[in-house]
Symmetry: C2
Subunit: 133 residues, 2 copies
């Protein structure tokens, strides 16, 4: 540690750490995906490591395809405190089931694509042979 305070990060550092742009970080805060970030005296944002943890989790929700509106609901419940835990668990359960269903669908589509790739590859191979004869 270089000083006695907890390590606070600038928006640029958080952008680098999370791979979000500074624009997107401010946007997420504006729409309530991220709680209002603490400010330094000059009104610049100062992020904590807990903030980064939350953002990382958000990015995981996003990667599952959860729409922003739903993430907003989740974030709001989180801010309301521990008594909303059951509702958040319900949301996560629904997400889990959605995700399972979507993965199953994608696996079905993957099967079809694999089949087409091998079938068409065979067609190409046969045609190439003919040309060689």
């Amino acid at each position: 540690m270089t000083n006695g305070h907890k390590q606070l990060l600038t928006i640029k550092q958080v952008a680098e750490a999370t791979k979000l742009s500074v624009h997107t970080l401010r946007y997420y805060e504006r729409i309530g995906l991220i709680h209002p970030i603490e400010r330094a005296d000059n009104s610049h944002r100062r992020y904590t490591h807990e903030d980064i943890g939350w953002i990382d989790f958000l990015l995981k929700l996003r990667a599952t395809g959860m729409p922003i509106h739903e993430m907003q609901v989740y974030a709001e419940l989180q801010r309301e405190g521990d008594h909303t835990l059951p509702q958040r668990v319900e949301m996560l359960k629904r997400l889990q089931h959605d995700l399972e269903a979507r993965i199953d669908d994608l696996n079905e589509h993957l099967k079809l694509i694999r089949y087409k790739v091998s079938f068409y590859s065979e067609v190409i191979a046969v045609n190439t042979e003919k040309e060689l004869v």
Copy 2:
């Protein structure tokens, strides 16, 4: 068969069969995802069963998350004829690998969600017990 021609379908029937709206069917044709559909004397579209087959395939590509621009390229290659088969196979191979990677990612996210669900469920269960004591 009610007549000697191949069975042709109206746009409405195709919309019902594919679950696309008539708007979307026309839109897909306009942007080249679907080749120009044959017309009846009154200029109404008449779809063949092969057209439906192509649309079903398109919907599968769409369901894999392939962007419209790429589907346009694929559709154009298809229209150019058999000699583009190798290029189409390359596209499908890339899609296959993408899909495999995305499914892996989703499975990772699913693990996390499952973990959170069971962890938080446990927290709730413990708190509920305490209340009962």
